[in-house]
Assembly symmetry: C2
Amino acid sequence: MITKLTAEERKSTLAELPGWEPTVGRDALHKSFKFEDFNAAFGFMTRIAIKAQELNHHPEWFNVYNQVEITLSTHEASGLTQRDIELARFIEKVSAGATRS
Amino acid sequence: MITKLTAEERKSTLAELPGWEPTVGRDALHKSFKFEDFNAAFGFMTRIAIKAQELNHHPEWFNVYNQVEITLSTHEASGLTQRDIELARFIEKVSAGATRS
């Protein structure tokens, strides 16, 4: 059983993940990304999709044209866990092409 | 300039697109899809993404694990146009693997 992040883990984690904000009303993290066009946005999503499958941990996300909104939370723990941090780190790594968040 | 669908066009179109419902509060169409797993859901999205790029007409969509929520509307016309119908028809064609909508 995976457990929720402690207050200390959250603090240190958020410091290293710029732009990721706690979601209002639930224990989750959220970030918005904007790319040059749909090709760049969906390419970004595809890289994340492949990684998510490998981690067996999937994002909740919304896309319209060049915008991608991502929410991370762990269903099994009803909140934020190390799995979300691992996926957020990967997302940061592949978000280099984002024109702004 | 692309124009919005007429009342008659909407009626005949909705009859041939089962499950597509007018969105409350805006001139758009919406449908929910559920697949066996994330692989099937994202594969479905990928086929639509490639088609959307070809049509230069993109969906608004939300995905979490095996669920995909799609909204179609034409920004340029502030409402439903023939482009949305064309994309909806393609989506229907590739949604065969959906376990239920």
